[in-house]
Amino acid sequence: MEEFVLMKGNEAIAEAAIRAGTDGYFGYPITPQSEVIEYLAAAKPHERTGMVLLQAESEVAAINMLYGGAGAGKKVMTSSSSPGISLMQEGISYIAGSELPCLLVNVVRGGPGLGTIQPSQCDYFQSTKGGGHGDYNLIVLAPASVQEMADFVSLGFDLAFKYRNPVMILSDGAIGQMMEKVKFKPQQPRSKKSPDWATTGKTPDRERNIITSLDLDPARQERFNEKLQAKYKEICKKEVRYEKIKCDDAEYLFVAYGTSSRICQKSMQMAREEGIKVGLFRPITLWPFPYNEIREMTGQLKGILSVEMSAGQMVEDVRLAVEGKVKVNHYGRMGGIIPTPDEIVENLKQKIIGG
């Protein structure tokens, strides 16, 4: 029986990566997530499982290492923070366009530009609406605890290989840097088998495997895009994940993910002590977004406050979900400032209940 250990979110991701049987980690240091590669370097993953660990010359190189490794059929991952993830966008688009599985971790910091190293949720649009060029989607998982940072590594790889699609864990500096207790799954062996599409060397029993996102013939390129869209539709149908807390009697609703959802739990307790019946809806998959599950609640609700550490990004999806049937507003802080529980309650009162 594994026991609980106390760890930072970033360290938990690293340990979980080794335990999940990851074949390779390629990354470039950036605050606030450098603990991932530092932990891996100290943990000697090569001795533990044979896992490859490489500090790349840039985020651009790192994401293209993922492309190469994923194309060879291996379980590969990287982690970075906002500016580094921006640099990777071209590569992410290629990976999606070549239908390769991989795991990306974004420990978000405040932007735009070099911004700040403090936590933020300002990369929601970038993660859920494309980010790079072309019609593609990442599966985006939003952990709200150190335990979920660990658990979503193997979940992320499972989804990535099931759908041959990149998966992103969208975290933030707060969850990356905070310590909580976490229990790890036992060590999984690294897979010895390669998927049949992987470039492992053409043997006489099969045609050569080619990893590419290029097809200059518009008709074929459109057919490929239709195939991608069909895959995304299936993901939307099957892979929506969320958590509802005290929603049964709720007249008002917080919608929040990650760090914000944790703060909103506190706000919810405070508001309920004042007799305000507020619940919390926490999307766990930001893409696919739980549109239907939020829409189903509109009958019981008088208003929704979307709480994000951003200028208001997810709130657009909440509005799409409720189709104008319920009042929706946004409260957020920017630039690395984390909203406090009482200012969220205050904004619920002002923007939703009183407004």
Partner: protein, 262 residues
């Protein structure tokens, strides 16, 4: 003289065979312009893979540029890399599949402009890969723009009056930089404009593949090549122009030969 002609029946006899397409080349027709060095270099690589018997152990990485479709012609597993990133892609493949032969095939824009960082760092880490660098001093695929290796005074669609150093800087000798990195094991500069040079190039690329098995570092072969379309010349003239102008600036020969070999 009528006596010298041979019939088709005679011609296809085994003893009259002077050239055979490598089995590693597919039946797809090359899209390259007539006289282009890419076709010859592809053939050389295919022949080496066949002769070494490493088809099932070889993974190639194609670039963005004229040879973006290399995977259409080589009957080996291949990955198409984003522009300039082939060395990073190959790094991961080789590290995750260390028993395999991994090669990149890149043009001058890919390897010496947009991908400079990946080129230098893969070579500096001494990744056990083979890198083939086709240097024809111009951007072929996009229609003849200046390359980082375009000679001073050489015309291109973005230097219509010739490359001017004060504006565009000097042509970069990437292989001369690479050769100084301790991570490289074998570095050579060759060309494919005469049969003799083709043979030398084949010898160099063969070494660059064979040495991968030693795990001693990056093997790097530059092939100085022509671009008849981009240079707006016929193939014969382009080869002559290359010999007269490119080769004095990019002199041929082995540049780093391992001391423990030969």
């Amino acid at each position: 003289m009528a006596d010298d002609t041979i019939s088709t029946k005679e011609l296809i006899k085994e003893e009259n065979l002077v050239y055979k397409k490598s089995k590693i080349l597919t039946d797809n027709e090359f899209h390259y312009c007539p006289g282009c060095g890419h076709s010859t270099t592809h053939r050389i690589i295919a022949e080496i893979i066949e002769e070494m018997g490493i088809q099932s152990e070889t993974i190639g990485v194609a670039p963005v540029g004229c040879s973006v479709f290399m995977y259409n012609y080589m009957d080996v597993d291949m990955q198409e890399a984003a522009h300039g990133r082939a060395p990073a892609v190959a790094t991961a493949i080789k590290r995750l599949l260390p028993e395999k032969y991994v090669f990149t095939y890149q043009g001058d824009g890919d390897l010496a402009a947009i991908g400079t960082a990946e080129t230098i760092h893969a070579c500096n880490r001494g990744e056990n890969i083979t890198m083939i660098f086709i240097n024809n001093g111009i951007y072929g695929m996009t229609g003849g723009q200046m390359a980082p290796t375009t000679l001073v005074g050489m015309k291109s669609s973005t230097t219509p009056y010739g490359r001017e150093v004060s504006l565009m800087g000097n042509p970069i000798k990437m292989t001369d930089i690479i050769v100084n990195l301790p991570g490289t094991y074998f570095v050579s500069r060759q060309s494919v404009h005469t049969p003799a040079n083709v043979r030398k190039t084949k010898k160099a690329i063969r070494k660059a593949f064979e040495y991968q098995a030693l795990n001693k570092g990056t093997c790097f072969v530059e092939v100085v090549s022509n671009c008849p379309s981009g240079w707006k010349m016929n193939p014969v003239d382009s080869n002559k122009w290359m010999a007269d102008n490119m080769l004095p600036f990019y002199p041929l020969g082995d540049m780093k030969v391992p001391e423990d070999q030969d």
